[in-house]
């Protein structure tokens, strides 16, 4: 169990982060291989009020599972096994641990080989009781491929009204319908009145995503989570959706967490960026510092992701892309030490032997943390 005592929460300033995830671990057991798939293996993140955090990573980096764990939507077994999530509904409110009581239902022994004792049913009943209240009020989510994410059997209007009713049940039928039309108009859908009676298959991909955004924002959540909102959409539609999200960010100042594999999307929306690899955060900091290609200190994986995007000169001279070698890590066969070691092109000169041991996420500059021995002293964790 992580050793973060409860006092850590009170130590932070009165107006602390709206959300602080500490050492979250979510494991899935694979009977065929007899091993754990460590989807999230010790992730710590925090999000300030009104801020937009982008979590960037490739498939299998654990970015989506982290958010599903936050929302309590992890269905696989054993699921969440360790960690705490301090949630502060209002800037000055006392933080609440969303995973409070996890200790009673789950025991994790980290030592190789890892072992888990978990009462999945008991935890589900206990956790679901708490989270079902917060979902749709405190937290709202937008998903990838919007056409499947909308209920094909219910009209668009019914689905938006549902979100509005959950937030303000006292509204009259007409009042709720007007608000729904208002939101559809706000997300630039033409002729909202008629669209209310449409179904998901009558709309294009881009329009479905706008409805999703309207539905999520209509619940006026304190935290909006967008899981790959523009993946799979055409470039032009993607650009329109990003414009809309930027507009909403400016207008409503909702705290947003955007999950994406595309650095371009992170650049457009994010104030702070966290890069995830093999189930853990390898770099986090303000967007400018993380996105600046030639700016050190930086985690070699982030550099690799940034250099995978061709610049105008690359295209001019038809240069080959500088590429991260090796394959995506297999989360059920993670070794000890730095997970990026076998794909790392910039072995820290003279410090290779340190890489046998996993580097901590150490502080390297104002608000920037990197998990690489090239920038950290070995002994202490900043």
């Amino acid at each position: 169990m992580s050793t973060a005592p409860a006092t850590a929460a009170s130590r932070t300033a009165a107006t602390g982060p709206i959300l602080r995830i500490q050492d979250l671990r979510t494991y899935f057991y694979l009977p065929a291989r007899g091993r754990f798939l460590k989807a999230v293996d010790g992730v710590s993140l925090d999000v300030q009020h009104g801020e937009t955090l982008a979590i960037v990573g490739e498939s299998g980096s654990g970015k989506s599972v982290t958010m599903l764990s936050l929302m309590g939507l992890v269905t696989a077994v054993p699921g969440i096994v360790d960690g705490r999530m301090w949630y502060r509904p209002a800037p000055d409110a006392k933080p609440v641990d969303l995973l409070e009581g996890l200790g009673r239902f789950a025991k994790l022994k980290l030592g190789p080989p890892p072992e888990v004792h978990k009462d999945t049913l008991g935890w589900h009943k206990w956790h679901e009781h708490g989270m079902s209240e917060r979902r749709g009020r405190d937290f709202a989510m937008i998903f990838q491929n919007p056409r499947n994410a909308l209920n094909p059997y219910m009209t668009i209007g019914q689905q938006i009204l549902e979100a509005i009713r959950r937030r303000s049940p006292e509204l009259s039928a007409a009042g709720a319908a007007d608000e729904a039309k208002g939101w559809l108009g706000k997300v630039r859908i033409d002729d909202p009145g008629r669209r209310m009676t449409d179904y998901a298959h009558n709309l294009s991909g881009g329009m479905c995503q706008r409805v999703m955004i309207a539905m999520a924002l209509a619940a006026r959540p304190t935290v909006l989570i967008a899981d790959e909102p523009t993946t799979g959409l055409d470039a032009t539609i993607q650009s329109h959706i990003l414009d809309l999200m930027e507009e909403m960010k400016g207008e409503l100042k909702t705290t947003t967490i955007v999950i994406t594999h595309d650095m371009g999307v992170a650049r457009r929306l994010a104030d702070r960026i966290a890069v995830m690899y093999a189930g853990r955060v390898v770099e986090k900091g303000p967007a400018e510092t993380v996105l600046e290609l030639r700016r050190e200190p930086k985690h070699p994986y982030t550099t690799g992701l940034l250099s995978a995007i061709p610049t105008a000169e690359d295209i001019e001279q038809r240069r080959r892309l500088t590429v991260i070698d090796g394959d995506v890590p297999d989360l059920s066969r993670l070794g000890t030490g730095c997970q990026f070691l076998e794909r790392c092109a910039v072995r820290p000169a003279g410090r290779e032997r340190f890489c046998e041991e996993e580097p901590p996420l150490g502080e390297v500059g104002q608000g920037q943390r990197v998990r690489c021995w090239r920038h950290l002293r070995h002994a202490t964790e900043a």
């Binding site: 032009t236 650009s239 995978a308 105008a312 001019e316 991260i324 394959d327």
Partner: protein
């Protein structure tokens, strides 16, 4: 045979007719997936085909390979007409023209090991004994940078990148000359996609392959392709060198596509050009005249000139510069448009 182009497509049309209740073809109710496409492809060259979903780029690829029947026009491979070729002769041509599918699992039957997949492809057109098959299989895996141990693996056990490499190896087993790659990289992660893009270019140089590279990801196409054609609703609206288009093409749709992409420079949608993409996409899709006029800023700004709407004066690919053609009455940068 370096003189004539390897592949010549002339005014190719593929219409999908909706069938009535008893299966009768209703000729007025059709979808013009490919609506008059012409281009040439030289040996050793890579031609990128770019366009949004619904532009017909995938259907074009399938029609050239004969997987989808063409409605009109001609496709000549080494001067030999492919449209309407009987299946037996088409299989002969298939020795030299192969396709890589978008779905990673497409060519990889989950019930066969990688070794069996390769040996089936190797022994397809020529009888080979076991040792030669084994040797050639290991060569192929080495060519795509996979360890020979993978021969015993089943496709579901492979990662995304490995699946794509095996599907490339399987295609190379029949020693093709032309490979039509339909969105080969879109299902892969950024780092793996870059590796496979480099691999495709290495193979082109080593084996003298010719690629038809279909993708909606402009960045990857720019890197891999020598020349690019931009398709919109079944028609070619612009054809030019990749770098030329990166600096902004002549056709308003190309400019819209490239401006939506956000390379390093973060070049957002050019200000002042608010295409109402959403409304037009769901609304009417013109089937004559300039197909793009519903979403075209110039057309609206110029008060919807008749020349764009009139079916007779449908824009055709006209020279805009060296090896650069665009199908627009008011190509950008020609002073006729209001200088986007």
């Amino acid at each position: 045979m370096a003189d004539g182009p390897l592949l010549e497509v002339r005014n190719l049309k593929t219409y999908f007719y909706r069938r009535g209740r008893w299966g009768a073809v209703r000729s007025h109710d059709y979808v013009p997936a490919v609506d008059g496409v012409s281009f040439e492809l030289r040996e050793g060259e890579t031609l990128g085909i770019v366009g949004e979903s619904g532009s017909g780029k995938t259907t074009l690829g399938r029609t050239i390979l004969g997987l989808t029947p063409a409605s009109a026009g001609s496709v000549r491979y080494r001067g030999k007409e492919l449209v309407g070729l009987p299946v037996r002769e088409l299989r002969e041509v298939r020795k030299e023209v192969q396709m890589i599918f978008q779905d990673l699992d497409a060519a990889l039957n989950p019930k066969m090991t990688v070794g069996q997949l390769l040996s089936e492809a190797l022994t397809l057109h020529r009888k080979r004994d076991k040792t030669e098959v084994r040797g050639r299989s290991e060569e192929l895996l080495d060519l795509v940078k996979l360890k020979p141990a993978k021969l015993a693996a089943y496709p579901p056990e492979l990662s995304g990148g490995e699946k794509r490499r095996v599907s490339i190896a399987r295609v190379l087993a029949v020693e093709p000359k032309l490979i039509i790659a339909d969105e080969p990289l879109s299902a892969l992660d950024v780092s793996i996609a870059a590796q496979v893009a480099n691999l495709l270019r290495d193979l082109q140089e080593r084996l003298g392959l010719t690629y038809l590279f279909i993708s909606h990801d402009l960045r990857m196409v720019e890197l891999v392709a020598h020349r690019v054609i931009v398709m919109y609703f079944g028609q070619v609206v612009e054809a030019a060198a990749a770098s030329r288009l990166a600096h902004g093409g002549a056709h308003p749709y190309s400019r819209l596509l490239w401006s939506a992409v956000d390379p390093h420079g973060g070049r957002r949608l050019e200000s002042g050009v608010r295409w109402e993409g959403e409304r037009a996409e769901a609304g009417a899709r013109p089937r004559s005249g300039c197909r793009f006029r519903a979403r075209c800023g110039i057309f609206h700004a110029k008060g919807e000139p008749a020349v764009c709407r009139d079916p007779e004066t449908e824009p055709t690919l006209t020279e805009q510069g060296p090896d650069h053609r665009a199908a627009c009455h008011f190509p950008v940068g020609s002073g006729l448009s209001y200088g986007l």
